[in-house]
Symmetry: D2
Subunit: 173 residues, 4 copies
């Protein structure tokens, strides 16, 4: 794929995420940082904060970056591990932008907000990877089709390693 090396990570916020989801997201962030991906996300708590924190704790944090696209118009509302903050001021309509922001979207857990993002990512033709190890919409939708406009499925993944391999395949020159 000839596209910017960007991935979007979506998932449960602080109210919805379990500790297991956050641990996974932290490890995912470490891997994405190590591999040099720019990680677009919604910039709030839970899975979003954990993936940003993981990037900060990757061996060479300069290689990757977290870009946090938040609903509010003020940067103070972002989680404290965001490298770059985009305060949109457009509320949850920012979910559409998160879904558009990368050719690949990775979902971990997820409530209604994540569901809107997966729906958008499907409509706009993004590759979607859904983690099956936890509950939420990621597990419910993994391996399925949102509707019949596409022939492919939402790709299931159980581990960070599986995601690394999928991304290498997707972004290979």
């Amino acid at each position: 794929m000839n596209a910017p090396k960007q991935v979007a990570v979506i998932g449960s916020n602080a109210s919805g995420a379990t500790v297991a989801m956050a641990d996974f997201a932290f490890a995912l962030g470490q891997m994405l940082g190590t591999e040099g991906y720019t990680v677009i996300n919604g910039g709030k708590g839970g899975v979003m904060e954990a993936v940003c924190r993981g990037i900060r704790h990757s061996p060479n944090p300069q290689r990757g970056r977290s870009v946090c696209i938040i609903p509010e118009g003020e940067p103070a509302y972002a989680n404290p591990f965001c490298d770059i903050i985009i305060p949109t001021g457009i509320g949850l309509a920012r979910n559409f932008i998160v879904a558009n922001s990368a050719p690949v979207v990775i979902a971990v857990g997820g409530g209604a907000g994540t569901l809107s993002e997966v729906a958008y990512a499907w409509q706009t033709g993004k590759i979607i990877i859904a983690v099956t190890s936890f509950g939420g919409w990621a597990r419910k939708l993994a391996g399925t089709q949102i509707d019949n406009r596409r022939n492919d499925i939402i790709l299931p993944a159980r581990s960070v390693e599986e995601i690394r391999t999928l991304l290498q395949e997707i972004f290979k020159p």
Copy 2:
């Protein structure tokens, strides 16, 4: 409920809607027009066009109005039965506005676009009515909860009459 007498109708577009869905949406539009509701919708084909057409064919079309909030910036992209057209120019981010536009959202059939709207309506606290007589996300989600932030469910409805009764209850002074 002390709120404007507005309902949003969402559902399958021209590619996804069956004739049965469109017939239902037409009858729904007739009922909504007769009862004097302003009907906000996405202004494209399928369920959206049928509900607008139904309003035009209600006994006193002056009492109700269809307001079509379309993705494009030009009114020519709306279906021909829209009474008022709001060309947004913001693409599918307009789904968030459709979900915000009324205290009650009624879903008929529905693919990924409808799913994003239901997810948004859930997040923003709207009453959601999902028609169970056809496929799509409306049937899949009827009677369920999107996530655990709310205690209520997506209200199932089989007929236009059931919806009329639900709305009378919701909008009673």
Copy 3:
């Protein structure tokens, strides 16, 4: 012009509008209601509230309608004279939608918000009428060009009668 009989009215909010501006906007609303235009506006105070109130006080208020596109996601934030409320939840990005919502945009007074709407209306090719009887950006920009992408100018108007005549010319079949 073969377009929906819709006009957008923009202008100073409650903090910026003078009584003279509000009186003008009220008379403008009466005229627009009498002529059967649907009037899209930002739904807040000042010029916006006055034009909505004028429509309510036109001889046959059924013929015209005010449609209020507000920044907030809740209808309670609209002024009390809105016939139809579209709570967007996208903050001031709703200015772009107001500018897109009609083929003609009429400006009365106006601070920074109005200025963003005039700039958008210029970019998207709308006919712009600016009232010269008061201060604000309407007077500053009347008769000028925002940039050189268009050959026409922002049309100056001193009175409601002048606006009525301009609109009849614009919307003649």
Copy 4:
């Protein structure tokens, strides 16, 4: 100022920018990259492309980054010097996000799009620096107030050096 070290640069697109403006924007980008600012911009041609190119040609391009927030939903529409691309899919409503994206907005030249961004930046309380060396809305508005909601003015600047000094003052810990 305790805020992310981010600045937004706005200005004429490829149709409106002169070579002199683009040369200035290139030098501005080099300075901003050297100083380690993340530079949010609209990602299209003219001033936007030149500032992104300048960052690439700064002594240590790793320190700074250009983040391009484009109207389209596909990254291919960005200029080729963007480090990070945010395809929004929301059209010119993205101007509101660009204006929200940093505590300081720097304008070079500028037509209607830039004008909408300056108006938004004024409404949302951003510090605005307008380059006076060229035409466009930057020169027209430098030293003025958009409306009376604020007591400060749009800061005029003639050179990249002046902007460097202003930013050091603004971002000093």
